[in-house]
């Protein structure tokens, strides 16, 4: 299933797409795949995180998860193997979220090839404004990967016009000026931000950062085509709650008609 198809299908069902996040090596080797199995029934697309030592765009929950995964000795090759296993379970689009230094360390050509072969559809690069390295973005696209970049409430018209054309997968719109992490409410002004983005691109727009419950999911769905849920899932796992509970609630919020329940 392509990225566009995944968003289109959700739209046809009268709801916004749900994009849960899992991290390779979290909570541990092997158990990461158990979390994948819990979230897949709810996932229109899946975001897969590569744990990193210095995740400066992330809040405390994902930082902690990264540290826990790295303590398990997770390498880039393990992340690719994890993706391969997920690919064996689903045809949903998979997006790898990685900071730029692991890409440079492995070598962009090899890194992109490795993850394309493993079965990812695209990349999310939170600390690479695309105009910093257009050649790297082209290389990823030539390797058959879609690219997704972030836009934010602080983004000017110029930044939107610069960044949006590089988003061949979807546009990842950050709900608040800040780092990742669950919030009770999203700020006002999201619909206007998404409208500004839609004037520049016809790529699907997903909202991330802060999606944690029915209310925030509803806000995201009213503004955009999809919502990413990340920190709230890890926090739910930390607190020993089932992921289905929070996913069900978020999905209910995303269904504009208010229809809860798994995708299939």
């Amino acid at each position: 299933m392509t990225t566009r198809e995944a968003f289109a299908r959700a739209k046809a069902e009268g709801r916004a797409a749900l994009i849960p996040y899992v991290m390779a090596g979290y909570p541990s080797r092997g158990a990461d795949l158990e979390l994948v199995k819990q979230v897949l029934p709810y996932a229109d697309l899946l975001e897969v995180g590569l744990p990193y030592s210095d995740p400066l765009g992330d809040g405390p929950v994902i930082q902690r998860a990264s540290e826990q995964a790295l303590r398990q000795g997770i390498h880039v090759a393990d992340v690719a193997a994890f993706v391969r296993e997920i690919r064996g379970l689903t045809d949903r689009p998979l997006f790898l979220m990685t900071y730029i230094n692991p890409v440079l360390a492995v070598g962009p050509e090899r890194f992109f090839g490795m993850f394309k072969e493993a079965g990812v559809n695209g990349l999310i690069l939170p600390d690479l404004p695309p105009d910093e390295d257009p050649a790297l973005v082209s290389l990823a696209q030539k390797k058959g990967l879609e690219t997704t970049f972030l836009l934010a409430p602080t983004s000017t018209e110029t930044r939107i016009q610069t960044v949006a054309p590089y988003c061949s997968g979807f546009v990842y719109t950050v709900s608040v000026a800040g780092v990742t992490g669950a919030r009770d409410r999203l700020p006002e002004g999201l619909p206007e931000l998404v409208q500004r983005i839609r004037q520049v691109t016809d790529a699907p727009v997903a909202i991330g950062f802060g999606i944690s419950n029915r209310a925030t999911a509803q806000q995201a769905a009213q503004a955009a085509d999809g919502a990413v849920i990340a920190s709230a899932l890890i926090r739910a796992h930390e607190e020993g709650r089932g992921l289905a509970e929070v996913l069900g609630e978020v999905r209910a919020g995303l269904g504009l008609e208010g229809v809860p329940g798994p995708v299939h």
Binding site: L56, R159, A177
Partner: protein, 416 residues
């Protein structure tokens, strides 16, 4: 006064392949706004007059260029001058930059400053100018450093700053910097981030360099007076992130007749031990804290912890302009181990009656190797970037451990 204009960085903040802006998109507009504001005010006579006023009246500039006669005689080679940045208010070169950035912050109408700090020197410097300018100040410091540097933590609090211990990652400078950036991403509309070195996204490395370059410019004027020439034969400075070194390198680096510019990295326990801060000597190109630079990381790109006896050099990366100088051959970078630095530290104490910062002791130690190979009519300038009061307890501890002397007992008493 004027702030300098150098050929690099280019408009995109690049020093050839190095530098740039590798940051979350939320920050890009703020960096563009900051670049514009800086480029405007660096040519604004009122701004420059105010900066100049505080440099003279508050910091105590110009700092002396002191002929270290005893050290020169002892080493028996080149004539050695010390650029006395240790005599600045707050005891180091850091304030040249924090003062400039705080003035810029005020002009931009921001009321809150954020900073990261390792041992606490930059934090104290930011807390100082924040107190002076009436700005709210939050300093992030690794929890491990908060514990080790209780005195500086208290200094910052005395100066009215809030110190927030950082528990993530290695709980040191690298993680404090991540946390400061996270704060800035969250409060970008009303806060100004004062970075402590020539690192971070453009325009930070350029701004910090421009504010620090007064040190090199003063050296030129002082040498003209003392030696009848602007150029020394060799300039030596220690390099962690690289702000004191860039201040004495940049004014010479782009000239045709360039002195030898020698950057001294912390070799810690030695290059082979893996416990060092040799970002240039043993690192590879990578991205940390918003810029491409030479960096210590493993095969998967995970940042590796740095090590040095000197907290100020204990950083896994090095500023993009130094990375460029190294690759282009404009400056040379060498390593000095913890042990050699401690010898340099004692040498300056005994011969000149000056207790240097452990950072600066790396430069002294390298000069002690180089000077004897040079001629008496040749001139070395060492940037004595800071004073060593802050390091006395650490030196006592290390010397005590190394020699099993009674110093250990003294330190134990001091720490209890």
């Amino acid at each position: 006064m004027q702030l300098p204009s150098y050929p690099l960085p280019d408009a995109r903040g690049r020093y050839a392949d190095f530098g740039g802006r590798y940051v979350p998109e939320t920050l890009m507009p703020a960096l563009e706004e900051l670049s514009e504001a800086y480029l405007h005010y660096k040519n604004d006579p009122d701004f420059l007059a105010e900066y100049d006023y505080y440099l003279r009246e508050y910091v105590g500039r110009p700092s002396p260029l002191y002929l270290a006669e005893n050290l020169t005689r002892h080493l028996g080679g080149a004539k050695i001058y010390l650029k006395r940045e240790d005599l600045n208010h707050t005891g180091a070169h850091k304030i040249n930059n924090t003062l400039g950035q705080a003035l810029l912050c005020k002009r931009m109408g921001k009321k809150r400053v954020i900073a990261e700090t390792g041992a606490g020197q930059h934090g104290v410097s930011v807390a100082t100018v924040a107190a002076l300018m009436g700005l709210e100040c939050v300093v992030y410091q690794g929890a491990e450093d908060v514990r080790r540097q209780a005195l500086n933590v208290f200094r910052m609090k005395l100066l009215g700053a809030e110190v927030r211990p950082v528990e993530s990652g290695t709980r040191t400078l690298k993680d404090a910097t991540n946390e400061a950036i996270r704060d800035w991403v969250t409060n970008v509309r009303d806060s100004f981030y004062i970075i402590g070195s020539v690192v971070g996204p453009h325009p930070y490395p350029m701004m910090a360099r421009d504010f620090q370059s007064i040190v090199g410019e003063e050296i030129k004027a002082q040498l003209r007076e003392k030696e009848g020439r602007e150029n020394p034969d060799v300039v030596i400075a220690c390099v962690g992130g690289g702000s004191n070194a860039i201040g004495v390198f940049a004014p010479f680096a782009y000239q045709e007749n360039r002195p030898r510019l020698m950057g001294v990295e912390a070799a810690g326990h030695g290059a082979a031990s893996g416990l060092h801060s040799l970002s240039i000597g043993a690192g590879r190109k990578g991205v940390l804290h918003g810029a491409k630079m030479f960096l210590l990381y493993d095969d998967d790109g995970q940042i590796q912890p740095a090590h040095s006896v000197s907290a100020g050099l204990d950083y896994p990366g090095v500023g993009p302009e130094h990375s460029y100088y190294a690759e282009a051959g404009l400056a040379e970078y060498v390593g000095i181990t913890d042990e050699e630095a401690l010898e340099g530290f004692q040498l300056l104490c005994r011969l000149e009656g000056i207790i240097p910062a452990l950072e600066s002791a790396h430069a002294i130690a390298y000069a002690a190797k180089l000077a004897p190979e040079m001629e008496p009519e040749q001139v070395i300038v060492i940037n004595l970037s800071g004073r060593g009061d802050k390091d006395v307890v650490e030196v006592m501890r290390v010397m005590g451990e190394g020699q099993g002397s009674s110093a250990e007992g003294l330190v134990q008493g001091g720490r209890s």
